[in-house]
């Protein structure tokens, strides 16, 4: 079985994300491709449209702070108990971001519509929220199947690519995702599928061979390419493998309070290769 899907490193993964790409990313605790994120900043990607499924944290703040993001579509940006996303706030205040505030189920429903390649999907709730006022891409119609029943239509979201980090790939490029079904949704809705980093490739495993393990896989047909990145979610955690690096996350939060501090953070933790070359 050819392993042409397996690239050498997170740098190779990052190289497949062009400027202007619409990129689906997941929540901080699910398995975030942080090493790929650093590689994207190193190569200087620009004008990304981030679709946060359904919200984001450190990964988004880093990309925003590094000037990689033009449009942010999300239900929330939060560090939870680990601090405040100052780079996000700073970019908002300076008008440096096109902000598309949403609500979690609207992002999911629009991604599901993208997975089906239908142009739009109706969704309950939302009417009367100021979110709708600021989303001219959403349309309110009268439900054609009932009387006096206004309902919101959301256009489908089809990202260009989904970016994920997962515990392992099997010999055929199927990715173990357990019950992180969000990864499957992201990969399926994305026109080019998922770009994946994994902790390891298990050449002795065929996830699709049994009912038990097949249900826990992201099938290889949705995987554009993968690469090994050990501790590739660091400083975030990977459920079942390693915990979040709390001290590092808090330190980020302190440094990123100012533009200067954020620049120092990038120098120390994102651009070490550049430093070494100087």
């Amino acid at each position: 079985m050819s392993q042409d899907w397996l690239l050498g490193s997170a740098e190779d993964i990052a190289a497949r994300i062009p400027d202007g790409a619409k990129l689906a990313i997941g929540v901080d605790n699910i398995g975030v491709a942080m090493e790929t994120t650093r590689a994207m900043i190193r190569r200087g990607v620009r004008d990304l449209h981030l679709v946060c499924v359904p919200m984001a944290g450190l990964q988004a703040d880093l990309l925003i702070g590094a000037g990689c993001v033009a449009t942010l579509e999300t239900s929330a940006i939060t560090f939870g108990e680990y601090g405040v996303p100052y780079r996000f706030h700073d970019a908002l205040k300076h008008g440096a971001l096109k902000m598309m505030d949403a609500t979690c189920p609207a992002i999911y429903a629009a991604m599901e519509a993208g997975r089906k390649d239908i142009p739009f999907v109706p969704l309950r709730g939302l009417l009367g929220s100021d979110l709708v006022v600021h989303r001219p891409d959403w349309k309110t119609i009268d439900n054609p199947f009932a009387k006096d029943d206004p309902i919101l239509l959301l256009p489908a979201i089809r990202p260009d690519v989904a970016l994920i980090h997962a515990p392992y790939a099997d010999r055929d490029g199927n990715i173990f995702i357990g019950r992180r079904r969000d990864f499957a949704l992201m990969a399926q809705a994305a026109r080019n599928g998922a770009l994946v980093t994994v902790e390891e490739v298990r050449g002795d495993v065929d996830l699709m061979a049994s009912e038990e393990t097949a249900a826990a896989a992201l099938p290889a047909i949705y995987v554009e390419a993968a690469a090994i990145a050990r501790r590739g979610a660091w400083p975030l955690g990977l459920d079942g493998s390693y915990d979040i690096d709390e001290a590092h996350f808090r330190r980020y939060g302190e440094l990123a309070r100012t533009a200067d501090g954020f620049a120092r953070y990038l120098d120390e933790f994102v651009h070490p290769r550049k430093q070494a070359a100087e």
Binding site: V27, N29, V53, P54, M55, T74, S75, A76, I77, T78, G80, E81, F88, H89, L92, K93, G95, L97, M99, D101, A102, T103, C104, P105, A106, Y108, A109, E112, L123, R124, G125, L126, L127, G128, S129, D130, L131, H134, D148, D149, P150, I151, R179, R180, R181, D182, A184, L185, D239
Partner: protein, 244 residues
């Protein structure tokens, strides 16, 4: 042995949830989570509790969308929402305050699932510990999710009330007003009034929020602290330093 602030809230929440079959608790919500677990601990009926962030207390397996679909299906009886601002018509704001959106002076994380669940879950408990005029405002600066409005929008759900560090207000969906029902021990009606910038009614039977009895406290400090500690270890270390 008297109940702490957090224990009183956990106990109050459990009482509000006692008739539910299915309860979901969002992120960063250790007190609602503990309240739901206490309700389940005491329930005679089968009760499903899903705590986001917990592996153990999770009735779901289809990704993040499942909570929302489940709510739409009528399979979530209770959920908790907060807000950087809450007003007297139960509008909530999780986005930002001051200045023109999106360049607000203050930015909060965002609306999360509020603009959906607030419409569909029959028993939404508004929960915000900080009870100040900064939070309890006459009118929110941004409506993440509106209170019930009688505007013809499909809405089987909505708020049943608002629980804070000071008190418990019920909410009347027809009259679109909060009513002060109980005030927590050590606090008074005037204190509530001084710290609330929106108009509200006061129940003729307003009284103290019932405190947990010895049995309830033992449950909170024992099995409930242990269970909620799986998703919220830091909370348990802070609130139950001697027990967990």
């Amino acid at each position: 042995m008297s109940a702490s602030r957090q224990e009183l809230l956990i106990h109050t929440i459990a009482g509000l949830l006692k008739d539910c079959r299915s309860i979901a608790v969002g992120a960063s919500s250790p007190i609602p989570g503990a309240g739901a677990l206490l309700a389940k601990h005491r329930a005679r009926q089968r009760m499903f509790v899903t705590i986001l962030g917990s592996r153990r207390h999770n009735a779901m397996n289809s990704g993040g969308v499942e909570l929302f679909d489940m709510a739409a299906q009528g399979r979530v009886d209770a959920f908790f929402l907060g807000g950087g601002q809450i007003d007297g018509q139960a509008n909530i704001n999780l986005v930002g305050a001051g200045g023109a959106y999106p360049q607000t002076a203050v930015r909060w994380p965002g609306s999360f699932g509020s603009a959906y669940l607030y419409y569909l879950v029959p028993n939404v408990i508004l929960f915000r510990e900080e009870h100040t005029r900064r939070v309890m405002v006459p009118k929110v600066d941004f409506v993440s999710a509106p209170g019930p409005r009688g505007d013809g929008v499909y809405r089987p759900g909505g708020p049943v009330g608002l629980l804070t560090d000071l008190c418990w207000f019920s909410f009347d969906k027809e009259r679109r007003r909060f009513t002060l029902q109980t005030v927590h021990p050590g606090h008074g009606v005037e204190e509530v009034r001084d710290n609330t910038a929106f108009d509200f009614d006061t129940s003729p039977t307003v009284g103290p929020t019932p405190a947990p009895d010895v049995e309830a406290l033992a449950a909170i400090r024992g099995p409930i602290a242990r269970q909620i500690g799986e998703a919220y270890p830091r909370f348990v270390r802070q609130v139950f330093p001697d027990d967990a």
